[in-house]
């Protein structure tokens, strides 16, 4: 059966695949959990749907957890998302409280312990408040253009993010004033995804 690595090799080259394998060896016995807010739809879910199986194939113990929430919760997180991108948002204390309550409820649902928990975007950001001891290291990854966030919303989110051990941003000017190392990971595309696949047939990658 063709594996993801087999399929990637003609596109990225043997050297890159071997580099991935050697880097994965260094992750020996480290358990990773990625947590986001949806199993399908949106760039983060697309990315995790591809990277988690790839990491597993490389021998890395990686899992994908998804938080659950009601309609009101996702209305709040949508407003938070927009506010981080600089749009004005009217988020009341009751809305923030509901967001916290859903994060608290979800923290009780995760049973796995890990060496690293990587939390994607603001929706599950407050999980750390309720399950800090479940992982050795916590990393917050922000996929949003947070270069000019709404002050009130960012101050609320920062209260959780500052407890993380590191954060990851997509661009230099999205980085924020935070008391931990901030890493830069540029947005990338997956040549094996269906979306990119049709493009791939028309173009050469190398």
């Amino acid at each position: 059966m063709a594996t993801r690595l087999n399929n990637l090799e003609p596109i990225v080259g043997t050297i890159v695949v071997e580099q991935l394998q050697r880097m994965a060896e260094r992750m020996d016995r480290q358990r990773f959990i990625h947590i986001n807010s949806t199993r399908s739809g949106g760039g983060v879910a697309e990315m995790l749907a591809q990277t988690i199986p790839l990491w597993n194939e490389l021998g890395i113990d990686a899992h994908w957890g998804v938080i659950e929430g009601d309609q009101s919760f996702f209305e709040v997180t949508k407003a938070v998302h927009n506010a981080l991108q600089g749009f004005k948002a009217n988020i009341t204390k009751a809305m923030f409280d509901h967001y916290l309550e859903i994060n608290r409820e979800n923290a009780g649902r995760f049973e796995l312990d890990a060496d690293f928990i990587v939390v994607d975007d603001p929706q599950p950001a407050y999980l750390i408040e309720y399950m800090r001891s479940r992982a050795r290291r916590w990393i917050w990854r922000c996929h949003i253009d947070a270069s000019k966030p709404d002050r009130k919303v960012w101050r609320f989110l920062r209260e959780a993010v500052k407890h993380y051990d590191a954060s990851i941003f997509s661009m230099l000017n999205f980085a924020q004033n935070l008391p931990h190392p901030q890493f830069l990971v540029y947005p990338s595309i997956d040549p094996l995804s269906e979306k990119i696949g049709s493009f791939l047939t028309k173009r050469s990658w190398r």
């Binding site: 050297i15 890159v16 071997e18 580099q19 050697r22 880097m23 000017n173 830069l184």
Partner: protein, 154 residues
Amino acid sequence: MQDSRLAEKLSVIDPFSFNSLEEVRDTLVDMLDDYLWDLHSVPWARPGFEFYFCEASMVVLGTQIQVATLSEFCSEIVKVPLNSIYYHFFDARWRLRSIKADDFSNWIKDSYDLPELVSALQGIDVWFYSLDEVRNTILELVSQHIEKPDGNKT
């Protein structure tokens, strides 16, 4: 900052002409200080155009390719990734604290008595070539040596 004159001045600094990154930094600071000395007010970048300093760490992985002779060196150097060429030929200058040194010529110097080849490798103009061209130039110089009547022992 819309200052092409200063940009050009900074861009012609050759970092490989210094012995250490501290010296490169001192030169940049000196050049900027000299530039600011003559100005009545300090220019500002517009919001969104600020310069963001980054810190970089290098992750070094073994390629599991090793060679014991110059013939093997020639057959294997074409297989290693270009970032390996960067590590051994460019990064080595900072690591070994010598602007003339690189891992390839160091290995040849330590393993063989070939001062001419060592000096030819050290004479490669790092600014003139891309990484791919650097690789080809190294390969060409070492291959030329092997092809010499007395070079086939290496």
